[in-house]
Amino acid sequence: MTHPYRDVAIAGVFNTPQARQLPVHDSQSIAIEGALGALADAGVDRREVDAVISQFAQDLVLALRLGPCSRVINSMGIPAVLQAAQMIACDEADVVLIAAGGAGMYLDRGATAPWTRPSNEFVVGYGLFTAAEFALMARRHMIAYGTTPEQLATVSATIRNNGHANPAAVYAGRGPFTAADVLASRMIADPFHLLDCSMTSEGGCGLVLTRADRAPAGPKPPVWILGGASDSFGPAYQVAPVWEMTGRGDLPAGYVGRHAARRAFRTAGLGPDDVDVAEWYDPFSFEIIRQLEAFGFCGEGEGGAFVADGQIGPGGRLPVTTDGGTMSFSHAGINAQQLQRVIRGVEQLRGECASMQVAGAEVAMCSNGGSGALFTDVLLLGSGRP
């Protein structure tokens, strides 16, 4: 059978400058910069765009004078990329532009970032925010398997050191960090210390997908979508994040993403052993340990030992979140960071990373979401056409 995404190419990716603050921008204006950069990277004229997927889809159509143009208002990351690929595969569009941005949203530093604070009636009175929600999941894993704060801190140090080495990261040069540094940072929501948590910043990004026969030849080869899928157990931050909550089967919410990963691997005809680099969402250190288990890179309860063995670091079996992720590269709200996992995967497969390039990487696995948010999206990218 022909692969469903055989005729879809990721032709362009771009990150704007990322910073703690970009005072001249708002979320929409920095998303436009992300869009323009991605078009330039792809070598595609804006007048060739016939679909836009973005939190600002309609605004981008107007600002870039793209009409008449399909617009899909979608503030997700990997689901937006998969939707773009499906639009091309189904002949709804030949060139799809995806863009996102966050700036000027987080001004009251006395509180946690606004997108981290739920307002549902059953959680609002208990002072929950994303770090606490994810901590409630991590705690169950620590109880069940003896996962330690030191193992969590090893994840944080690894990813923060990736960002330390990345000249484009907001926290470039801010390390290096050891696990002891992480454990010495102040407690946010036990077991998460400050350095176990993602940071906040401002920035934008974009991607361009095209029909394969329109992908430009040149120094930036197309990157291919090998498979992808999404898992959800419900809306984030409305009910208690119970590890063993189930839905239509036996899979606990704590392993959200396992079903999606199996589906993506099936589409790709691959398995975890084939993945060269893992550009995974890193909202909190524990989530890397959890994803190793959820996605089948190790057995249940073995994620802590996996990261303690150095397998996720430079030269390890599975380098993880090589740009520094949301802990160090950037975390500009809910939208841009989700696309940035995909952008980094593309950069790895092109072999163009300025730091932490995984030599000869042919398959990258990207992810969004996490247990505390009750969803996980996965995407498998390849340097070879499926």
Binding site: G110, A111, T112, R117, S119, E121, F122, V123, V124, G125, Y126, G127, L128, F129, A131, A132, A135, L136, M137, R139, R140, I143, R186, M187, I188, A189, D190, P191, F192, L194, G234, Q238, V239, A240, P241, V242, W243, M245
Partner: protein, 142 residues
């Protein structure tokens, strides 16, 4: 970092106030009277994660609010050192309680030190005001 000997306490007035919905109103009305209730499907006995109008398990629309004994075991918790907003006084300990009737309560532990929190700790519900009319269920070691 929080003082591990400090007793966890209810939050003072001024924190964000829950906004009851049509389906959840009985829960908050009971809480205002100092009673804990939960919704259970009459035919099949299953308990939803939040108030519903249709049982996901059996499809029945016959769901009843039942009184809870207010007792359960600590399932998961965190001790917060950096508050969501300055309205919250730290440390506080959001917790998931496995209630004896077989449902999950999102709450917050009070009346003990953070270092006393442990898997399976027995807990009893008590109520503290969050506004002139609403009271919020907290849990205290039983």
């Amino acid at each position: 970092m929080s003082d591990s000997a400090q007793l966890l306490a209810p939050q003072p007035l001024g924190i964000p106030i829950p906004e009851p919905g049509r389906l959840s109103m009985p829960y908050w009305q009971a809480a205002a009277r100092g009673e804990l209730v939960f919704q259970r499907c009459v035919p099949c006995g299953s308990v939803p994660m939040k108030p519903v109008s249709v049982c996901a398990e059996c499809g029945s629309r016959d769901l009843a609010w039942q009184p809870s004994a207010g007792l359960g075991s600590l399932y998961s918790w965190t001790v917060v050192g950096r508050p969501q907003t300055p309205a919250f006084i730290v440390p506080y300990a959001p917790a998931i309680v496995r209630m004896d009737e077989g449902w999950w309560l999102m709450s917050s532990v009070i009346g003990c030190a953070p270092g006393d929190l442990a898997d399976g700790l027995r807990l009893a519900v008590e109520f503290h005001p969050v506004s002139d009319v609403l009271r919020l269920p907290y849990v205290r070691p039983a």
